[in-house]
Symmetry: C2
């Protein structure tokens, strides 16, 4: 009887569900003593622990039975109202009127779940979907189980390439776009491109899936108005509390038009009934009285100082970046968020460099895996969020040493 | 421009994702002054609020950065160990050796998410899957988005009909079974049937998906050993903290064999990255030092008293149940859990009765929608968990009055 066949017959989609290359790389980089520019975690210094403590106590004191019981799949009413009001006022501040009805807000178990729900509701096996290239790999992981054909749209420093989008858009179910301080590149979609993208999407009848986890983390000026604010009936908007409060509560939200919302709600109900009501009340409690207006600027200040430290260290260690860009590391200047995007000298590969960088005491994530196709092997992602200013200085020095040692003569 | 077509093209599966009949019925029954036997919610009296308060404070004091940061998709290590140890010791107490390796435990966002993950990993469009009939509708809602063909296996007071299972099992991806105090029937799979089911599943190479949210809520004696304990390589086990601690933290778990676990883990990562680390630590903190061994008996005692009150009230108001079963309401005697299953006199329909019952001040859920096919329209589900003993007595009296008024002469 020991030789019976396995009873398990896996679904076809399971063959495409595999650990991401980047997660595997991150495992290698998690060594003691290594300065990591590799991670994508918010700085734990920014978690408002005292406020969470007070909120836990208050929520349990005020209505423990409500907080601990099963609840509506849509989410906690007051939190949905807070989300709607905040989006509306941010859009107004960016000069765009956006009437956000709380009834169109769905609270999700992290914004990652929003990606899963959208995939279920919009993707059939073989459906074409479009993503920026490079893009957030977790989104691709969420889409893949529904067996789409994923096409990458080329992008540059101002965001996506609209001609490439037009060329690929026919019959696409949606275009997934991170307009602000994108993961992995730190790039922001310019206002001109936003206007053009909105027009093009309307012309092509192409739904946009707008993911905005980093939008509040601006350093110089608030982002331009969301794409969704410009055409709410043609977009789904995804947001997150992970970067402005804490990821460990696993709460995000989406805003969807009336034609799609009921199906996303059904998908949500089937996926986990509802997001934890206790956590939703904690966040609603912390957010009331404008806490984010006081708290988020402290996160911005911290990350901005660290971005500046990284830019300064890069300028110091790679003085030829402007004069001899092919012979030097080059990099962009993210206007917010958590990541900076860099490119190695000609002839070098970030994957090949990584072990030598680790030997010098610094880790990063190679950029090629973030591309839907034709990954640029010279690219790498550098997070400036977790290490201190001093560590950033040492880490960049170590990176420079590794590059110098490996650079073709 | 106002007449443009909607850009949204929904996936084929969306057509099958609809609000459950029962949820719609529950909305009707949620009226002030109505005694509800309709709900499926644990009694809020059983939530260990003081312990949660202390655990929140402790978790944030001990390691707030860890509790609030992104975390491993597998779940919080100590909680996975607690789950493994508890399952192992419960199986041993039931006379069955079950080596549960914490590495095979995956923490899920409620056991509902376990159903979603299993569906993704095991169901292709058109795959045959088997469920008990009647069964938990939330499971069917979780399976449906992967577009299976769902077949019901007939069941009686001892659980499923093995001959019917054998007749339908060919090429089925799995059989979904709730062996203890099933929702909706309150039925328990007898030991004889468990032995026979295990043998049959092995013979047919049929994976079992064992769902056990109610197993700890036994009134008379602990349940027989789980099916998974008898054949861990051929089963996936789903468990929940919702009924022994609280649903509002949205935590459950699954135990899966090595051939399936990595794909379930990938599906989990894509679905919501991980379940809230803060909540996992809260539950791990509350559970340590054997808290459940002291707490769960108080839930059992409460629910048992309410079950007994319902049985007594039914016996009082329907004295002819044994002598003239066709002319009377009849019912079973659940040995645990939250639900009792009843059947109306000949010629009556539970759906038709409901508005008259509501007019008399009592609500229940008609049983027919729980069946995969050929629903028995005389059946109804009565929950004895939320109302007090006094409300149970009044509610059964109201039910009896409604039946008497509507019963064919």
């Amino acid at each position: 009887m020991s030789d019976t066949t396995s009873p398990w017959h896996l679904a076809r989609r399971a063959a495409r569900m595999n650990p991401s290359v980047i997660r595997e790389i991150l495992k290698v980089t998690e060594k003691p003593g290594i300065i990591s520019f590799a991670g994508g975690l918010p700085s734990a210094k920014t978690f408002p622990v005292a406020e969470f403590e007070a909120a836990c106590a208050k929520v349990l004191k005020d209505d423990a039975p409500g907080a601990l019981q099963y609840a509506a799949s849509e989410g906690f009413g007051p939190l949905r109202e807070q989300v709607a009001a905040q989006l509306q006022s941010q859009a107004a501040a960016a000069g765009q009127s956006w009437q956000v009805n709380p009834a169109q807000v769905l609270i999700t178990t992290g914004s990652q779940q929003g990606l899963d729900l959208v995939a279920k509701v919009l993707i059939d096996a073989g459906s074409k979907i479009l993503v920026e290239s490079p893009t957030y790999l977790g989104a691709v992981s969420a889409f893949i189980p529904m067996e789409p054909e994923v096409l990458g749209v080329a992008s540059d420093d101002e965001g996506l390439d609209l001609a490439d989008l037009r060329a690929k858009a026919q019959d696409a179910r949606f275009f997934y776009v991170l307009p602000n301080f994108q993961n992995p590149t730190g790039r922001t979609l310019s206002e001109n491109r936003r206007v053009a993208l909105s027009q093009l999407a309307a012309e092509l009848n192409l739904p946009l899936l707008e993911d905005n986890p980093y939008g509040d983390l601006w350093f110089d000026a608030p982002p331009h108005a969301p794409l969704t604010a410009r055409n709410p009936d043609g977009c789904i908007y995804l947001g997150s509390f992970s970067k402005v409060l804490a990821p460990g509560l696993r709460l995000g939200f989406l805003v969807a038009p009336k034609v799609v919302y009921p199906k996303l709600l059904q998908a949500k109900q089937a996926a986990d009934l509802h997001s934890p009501g206790f956590n939703q009340r904690m966040i609603a409690e912390v957010m009331k009285d404008g806490f984010l207006d006081r708290h988020v600027p402290t996160i911005r200040a911290l990350y901005k100082a660290q971005r500046d430290a990284m830019l300064a260290a890069l300028a110091q260690h790679f003085p030829d970046a402007l004069s001899q860009p092919g012979q030097s590391l080059t990099w962009n200047r993210p206007a917010g968020g958590m990541f900076l995007w860099a490119r190695l000298p000609q002839g070098m590969s970030a994957v090949d460099l990584l072990p030598f960088a680790l030997a010098k005491g610094v880790a990063f994530v190679p950029g090629a895996p973030f591309y839907a196709d034709h990954g640029d092997e010279r690219t790498l992602r550098l997070s400036f969020v977790t290490p201190s200013v001093e560590e950033i200085q040492r880490g960049v020095a170590a990176l420079a040493a590794a590059i110098k040692a490996r650079q073709p003569a």
